[in-house]
Subunit: 81 residues, 2 copies
Amino acid sequence: MARVIVDVMLKPEILDPQGQAIARALPRLGFAGVSAVRQGKRFEVDLEGPADDAALAEVRKMAETLLANPVIEDFTLRVAE
Amino acid sequence: MARVIVDVMLKPEILDPQGQAIARALPRLGFAGVSAVRQGKRFEVDLEGPADDAALAEVRKMAETLLANPVIEDFTLRVAE
């Protein structure tokens, strides 16, 4: 059984109010030295079989149509070690 | 300027209704071969300086107190390449 990690982040040109709220709260909470924070989603997709090319193509299709909104989000796939 | 990635996932023993909803929807949407999905959060924390030990300790404290709920969530830190 293989695990594929799908990371979904807002495209760089899309404002991220959640991340900005965190970044703005940090100094107030005593944390210094952070210039920006962006928040996204992380999916762990467990496959029944191995993470071969066919399975990865299937997860990619899944990410494009279901896990990410390609209008505003980018995603990356990787096989977990 | 360094970037630290903080991945936050529900602890394995905590039910993940979002992930389960995705996993259950997949067959209906024509995707086979997935045994489980878990959904978490991913933070990109941009530092003003380098990702040295002091900065990473600071981000770890931030993750423990602000980005993750340690009662129900685990987190991992890594420096982005």
